[in-house]
Amino acid sequence: MGVSNSQLLHRTVAAVQRSSNLKTLGLSEHETQKMNMCQAINDAMRIVLATDETAVVFGEDVAFGGVFRCTVGLSDEFGRERVFNTPLTEQGIAGFGIGLASMGQTAVAEIQFADYVFPAFDQIVNEAAKFRYRSGGEFNAGGLTIRTPCSAVGHGGHYHSQSPEAFFAHVPGLRVVMPRSPIQAKGLLLAAIRDQNPVVFFEPKILYRSAVEQVPVGDYTIPLSQAEILKPGDNVTVVGYGAQIYALENAIQMIERDFPGVSCELIDLQTILPYDAETVARSVNKTGRLVVAHEAPRTQGFAAELAAEIQERCFLRLESPIERVCGLFVPHPLVFERFYMPCAVRTYEAIKRSLTF
């Protein structure tokens, strides 16, 4: 169970070469190196700093390497003018990044924990997201990428565990991305930084060290706003993103063990805004059933958007109500986390309900 035993991670060179998805991306023959997600993210930033002289990386504590070590070595290699600490102010970090981006420069800002992004919400929603539109294209903040560790870590409690993607998924003009693995994290972050729209890039912190893969060492991107089918199936579509993918993988294993002949199609949304509704709709038109899962609380969480969109597109094809397996509608608790989380068991029960409706 869990990410350390996941079949979805490409732990060996052979696994990379075998992967049809990586072949489609043109990555299956690349030279690779074993990296965890933190190292993969570090590598992406190194490539950006080396290839884009306007790029800078900044935030609280990034100079010594960052509290999660994602920026290790960067300020030594590229200097303190390009990789630097800011004072402790998320609204300042976001605003400063927007200003840099408005000059056409590449600003990679770090918010230390997604739980602390809220002071920056005004700058992100009212300024970054609207910068191009409101100016009639005279200016834009496309060069801004805000990266931030998110999601449950086991002991984080209210303020080191949040997954706030739904707040940002409601904002026209923003791109919102959440990778599930080292290969995805590096490619999506490179794409996000180069994207001409402001991006909020969520990094599930529990995966920083626990997700390990053979990651292509060169410069590559993974397409934004494209969902990825991780495992094909015929009977039910299961959608998630980030660390939740591994709980879904386990739930599906249990379902396919208990219901021989049933196959589940697992989709990683990857980009939450703008999201690839088409891939999900195509899958649901095949399977007739949908289960969506995320760590964020259920009410008004992103699954609600996906459920509404898919019921509109696939109403006559649906065989059962769309299931949402989510965090409970409580502040992320510490000692009760095992009940809060949309774990493999709770997801298994939901998929079972969908199949047996």
């Binding site: 306007t54 800078v56 100079a63 010594f64 303190r80 003018e81 630097f84 800011t86 004072p87 102010t89 609204q91 300042g92 976001a94 605003g95 400063f96 990044g97 927007i98 200003g99 840099l100 981006a101 408005s102 000059m103 420069q105 600003a107 002071p119 005004d122 700058q123 009212n126 300024e127 609207k130 910068f131 191009r132 539109y133 409101r134 100016s135 009639g136 294209g137 005279e138 200016f139 834009n140 496309g142 026209p172 003009g173 791109r175 994207d195 001409q196 729209n197 706003s225 703008p274 509704a277 088409e278």
Partner: protein, 449 residues
């Protein structure tokens, strides 16, 4: 030979480290561990432990403090003085501060002040007549033009909303002002925002947004980018004394100071934030006193004195560009205007107060008097300029009012750099709806493409 104590007090960086290390090897009773900050800022090296008799405070957070044995709270220091070049009659108080400008430059500035005033009068009336939806005037604050005149035309401007004078001085045309206010097809902003939310890349003036003070940390970031570009330009960031209460003010100034950003922070302290007088906005010595708190070079100026503003901005620019650090200017003035066309300030201040201010200290009169003293302006030239400015404004106004609104596809463009699938769908839906109900949507008001 100097004692270890005096060497510590004097030194900085590596030199201090070596000196103290040699002290520690000599002394057996103290183990002085020393380490220097990795930070590029001018932090002196400090020691982990100090004998109690030291006068200077050695904690890493204390820059220059000394110990005292007095239990004393400090609540205020002397109020920061207000730099002034002209008296209220336009006479230069100290000949050494006579502005060094040409007759043409001075006349152009003065003409712009009159034009701004004329444009404001006409557009205010236009809103009252329902011809534009909203407007904000700069009455009483026309001297701001002096700050724009002191800058390089490529210095990047981040404004709040009452800086039309800066735009005028930069060369924004009356047509461009009107097009934005009428949200027509020639508006650079493509009709997406309320009137007065101007912006122009060509004139290096960032598009105005309604949330207050958000531009302050942005200006710091842009200035950092300018420093990296190395083209000896700076950013200027305008905001009011009310906006300076926002968290973004604190964030922006602190970041500019710590990161070394060549930005001029210019506070227009006009005494009111809508209905809130400055005594309800802050209790300290205005905004200028805060600059000192951030370690920023600060000056307070007479905001109705064009030449004080001009000189201060020029000097501030020199500091910012040559030393790569921020400067704060607090310009004291009086908001003769209502806050906007949505405000009637007689609800919270007497008309007499406003009239008295307008008569007692008028930036336009002071400038005119100065020009007349120099023999650069004839009495009566005002009427001629004002008449022609009004005529030009009315002409631009009529032309702008006649134009169509931007084509409907501009509703969907530029939300993202490229049109995403859901917006393509919404666009198709709305276009179909507009074709089906053209009268309901008054589609004729919009340009075809």
């Amino acid at each position: 030979m100097s004692s270890p104590l005096s060497l510590l007090q004097r030194g900085a960086g590596k030199r201090l480290t070596r000196t103290v290390l040699s002290c520690s090897t000599a002394s057996k009773s103290h183990t002085l561990r020393t380490f220097s900050c990795a930070s590029p800022s001018k932090h002196t090296a400090f020691s982990a432990s100090q004998p109690a008799a030291r006068k200077k405070v050695m904690f890493p957070g204390a820059l220059n403090s000394e110990y005292s044995h007095e239990l004393k709270f400090v609540s205020s220091v002397e109020s920061i003085q207000t730099y002034q070049v002209m008296d209220s009659n336009g006479s230069v108080l100290d000949p050494a501060h006579e502005p060094q400008v040409s007759k043409e430059e001075a006349k152009a500035m003065y003409r712009n002040m009159l034009t701004l005033n004329a444009m404001d009068q006409i557009l205010y009336e236009a809103q009252r007549q329902g011809r534009i939806s909203f407007y904000m005037t700069s009455f009483g604050e026309e001297a701001l033009i002096g700050s724009a005149a002191a800058l390089n035309p490529k210095d990047l401007v981040f404004g709040q909303y009452r800086e039309a004078g800066v735009l005028l001085q930069r060369g924004f045309t009356l047509e461009q002002f009107m097009n934005q206010c009428f949200s027509n097809e020639r508006d650079l902003g493509k009709g997406r925002q309320m009137p007065i939310h101007y912006g122009t890349k060509e004139l290096c003036f960032q598009t105005i947004s309604s949330p207050l003070a958000t531009q302050i940390p942005q200006a710091a970031g842009a200035a950092y980018g300018m420093r990296r570009d190395g083209n000896k330009l700076c950013t200027i960031c305008y905001f009011g004394e009310g906006a300076a209460s926002e968290g973004d003010f604190h964030a922006g100034l602190n970041m500019a100071a710590t990161l070394g950003c060549p930005v001029i922070f210019y506070c227009r302290n006009n005494g009111y934030a809508i209905s809130t007088p400055s005594i309800e906005q802050y209790r300290g010595d205005g905004i200028a006193s805060r600059g000192i708190g951030y370690g920023i070079d600060t000056i307070r100026v007479d905001g109705n004195d064009v030449w004080a503003i001009f000189a201060a901005t020029k000097a501030a620019r020199k500091i910012a560009v040559e030393q790569n650090k921020p400067v704060l200017i607090e310009a004291m003035t009086y908001r003769v205007s209502h806050h906007s066309t949505s405000d009637d300030s007689s609800a919270y201040r007497s008309k007499k107060e406003v009239e008295d201010w307008s008569k007692r200290d008028n930036p336009i009169s002071r400038m005119r008097n100065w020009m007349e003293n120099k023999g650069w302006w004839m009495k009566g030239e005002d009427a001629e300029i004002t008449k022609s400015a009004k005529a030009r404004v009315l002409e631009a106004f009529a032309a702008a009012e006649r134009l169509k609104k931007p084509a409907i596809h501009h509703l969907f463009d530029e939300v993202y750099a490229e049109l995403p699938p859901e917006l393509q769908r919404e666009k198709a839906d709305i276009e179909a709806l507009a074709r089906k109900y053209p009268d309901y949507y008054q589609v004729n008001e919009f340009a075809r493409s």
